[in-house]
């Protein structure tokens, strides 16, 4: 039995999603603007998590299920600054060398920009992400450590090319990639991993499959329908008594949800197939999965030194290093457990 266990259940994962959703709601939207000659554009973009859940599976994966991100606000303002046209201003009565009465002067297109076209898609467009991920662990032992003691290995920086060479070998397996490109890709990733000469437990993320819909047709259509119905009932039919409008909402809302669900059937089937065959479908998703897994196999998202420093050195004393071994991640349909042995 491992001597150290840390576990999180499915609810904890979903609470984290809920918390992220709440945080995003309170985060001010991104804004920006740009000008190109007479043309200008500005945007306002906010994110809201509107749906989604996390399932832990007996296959040892974390299943992100239909995480919907709706863009709200999503406003694009396109503007054009037309050349100024000035009319009037001429003198119509001049006395004693001075203009006493002038025609009113009108500056047409005096604003900047003069014409603004707002494109408001707030709450309409939704992106959807589904996927399964697994976490694996491995122990990195550098040959460069040699016969150093654990404290020497803790203090000594890794000046060897061991990690770089290993990365170059892995990246070199990609066909048709020039050597210079292989080297520069490897050099990009090495600083993310290279540290001291101590042994390290590394946590790697593996994308089992994923499905990213930049625009989720079903949710977006549902949003548009819902906005349309809301507009018709609340604005156009505003004179109708509120009770009747509430009833109309109550009748139409589930129908819209059903339409959304029906439209989502195709996507659901693909996701079910992805989950069943444990692979992505769709060219972009497959390419993204290959790239993610290629990088993920080299670069850990977390690495812990072993022996692990529990008390860092102070006033010249060596740090207290505690050996941590047998780190493992196990996932079943109830919980996600990280276990280890402290030796």
């Amino acid at each position: 039995m491992p001597t150290l266990n840390i576990a999180a259940n499915e609810k904890a994962f979903n609470d984290i999603i809920m918390a992220a959703a709440k945080k995003l709601e309170n985060t001010p939207p991104l804004t920006g603007s740009g000008v190109l000659g007479p043309f200008s554009a500005s945007y306002e973009l906010g994110f809201r998590i509107t749906d989604g859940s996390i399932d832990l599976t007996n296959a040892g994966t974390v299943h992100i299920r239909e995480l919907d991100i709706t863009y709200d606000p999503m406003i694009l303002r396109l503007g054009i600054d037309l050349p100024h046209i000035q009319i009037g201003g001429e003198c119509i009565l001049r006395l004693f060398g001075k203009c006493r009465i002038r025609l009113p002067r009108i500056d047409i297109f005096g604003d900047n920009p003069d014409i603004v076209v707002p494109i408001n898609l707030s709450g309409l467009i939704t992106s959807e992400f589904s996927g399964e991920f697994s976490v694996s662990t491995g122990k990195q032992v550098l040959l460069a450590k040699g016969t150093r003691t654990v404290h020497q290995a803790h203090f000594d920086a890794d000046n060897s090319n061991e990690i770089r060479d290993r990365f170059r070998t892995i990246i070199g397996t990609i066909p048709l990639l020039p050597a210079t490109t292989v080297n520069s890709i490897a050099d990009t990733f090495v600083p993310m991993v290279k540290d001291n000469l101590a042994d390290k437990w590394q946590f790697f993320l593996r994308d089992v499959w994923h499905d990213l819909d930049i625009i989720d047709i079903a949710s977006t259509a549902e949003n548009i329908l819902r906005h349309l119905v809301d507009f018709i009932i609340d604005q156009i039919l505003a004179p109708i008594p509120a009770v009747l409008r509430t009833i109309a909402h109550a009748i139409l809302d589930p129908i819209i949800s059903v339409i959304g669900a029906v439209l989502d059937i195709g996507d659901d089937v693909f996701e079910w197939l992805s989950s069943f065959f444990q692979t992505s479908f769709g060219l972009l998703d497959i390419i993204a999965q290959l790239i993610l897994n290629f990088i993920g196999a080299m670069v850990p998202f977390l690495q812990l030194e072993t022996p692990f420093p529990i008390i860092e050195d102070s006033s010249g004393l060596i740090p207290v290093l505690v050996p941590v071994e047998n780190i493992a991640v196990t996932v079943d349909d109830v919980e996600f457990v990280v276990s280890a042995d402290i030796l």
Binding site: T3, N5, K11, T149, G316, I318, L321
Partner: protein, 294 residues
């Protein structure tokens, strides 16, 4: 059974892990567990319990101290420069969480009840006892006692009385200096005591402000004779622990409530029928149950 059956997050640490951490601490920071005067600092092999195979090789490699240096022991009534050498060592520290199996408890503390843990430690003390010849060498030579007797006119003391101390010099005596020269000794005279203590965790305070407190159940020093002395020493240590140490080992559970980014609250799982103890001391482990709240 799932670890998170009764909470969102769960963490546990086995007594073996805690004991291994303590062992590593003893090996890598020996000066926290070994105290002694200059002779023991310079030659740790003179300690009651030599540490040759019990310290990490890097301690000496990086020049770290093995023994924390203490001042020489003052000899009562002696104002000279010499002081006695001594050492004090704490060894064999271990924790045993219910059920008991990590160390053997003395009969006085058996059985270890549920939700209890015991601590074991061995304290060794050594005194550098000087040889008699050396003591005679360094013993101060003071003026002998010269009684002046009044035995009548016919009986006189022909030898002159030594000059008396000037009363004006009184009070000008310098306070005794702490000793700075160690007495020479061969091997320290040592003894070790095995000490066991049983503790449990208890909830105190109000429901609004619960406090987790450490409580001493019992304490036992093994094989000290006579029994009266054992009882006296145990009583003294218990008093020190209860009055001085334990009041400082209290944790306000409110301090363990964290708010992450103002949207996620992490807090200890409230005690209930399903989680009767939090933290729980059972199955040789300390178990902590934590809930999340959005």
């Amino acid at each position: 059974m799932a670890l998170t059956q009764f909470s969102d997050l769960f963490a546990s640490i086995h007594e073996n892990a805690i004991n291994n951490v303590v062992l590593q601490l003893q090996r890598q920071r020996p000066s926290l567990f070994n105290y002694g005067t200059v002779a023991f600092v310079q030659k740790p092999d003179r300690l009651c319990f030599p540490l040759v195979n019990f310290i990490d090789v890097d301690v000496t490699l990086f020049g770290n101290p093995v023994v924390h240096q203490e001042s020489l022991l003052t000899i009562p009534g002696y104002n000279g420069p010499y002081g006695m050498e001594y050492c004090l060592q704490l060894r064999e520290l271990s924790i045993d969480i219910h059920p008991p199996n990590a160390h053997s408890l003395p009969p006085e503390l058996v059985p270890l009840e549920k939700q209890r843990f015991s601590l074991k430690g061995k304290a060794c003390a050594g005194l550098g006892c000087p040889e008699r010849g050396f003591l005679n060498e360094i013993a101060p030579v003071e003026e002998p006692f010269f009684p002046v007797l009044d035995l009548g006119k016919d009986v006189t003391q022909p030898n002159k009385e030594p000059p008396k101390e000037n009363p004006n010099d009184r009070g000008k005596e310098e306070p005794p200096k702490p000793p700075d020269r160690p007495v020479i000794f061969d091997r320290p005279i040592c003894f070790c005591l095995d000490l066991f203590a049983v503790f449990h965790l208890e909830m105190e305070g109000s429901p609004d402000n619960p406090i987790l407190a450490l409580k001493l159940d019992n304490l036992e020093i093994v094989d000290v004779k006579p029994d009266g002395m054992e009882n006296m020493v145990e009583c003294f240590i218990k008093t020190v622990i209860v009055l001085s140490l334990l009041p400082k080992v209290r944790l306000a559970l409110k301090a363990l409530v964290f708010n992450i980014a103002e949207v996620l609250t992490v807090e200890p799982t409230p005690v209930s029928a399903s989680v009767p103890f939090n933290p729980a001391l059972e199955d040789d482990q300390i178990k902590v149950f934590v809930n999340l709240k959005v």
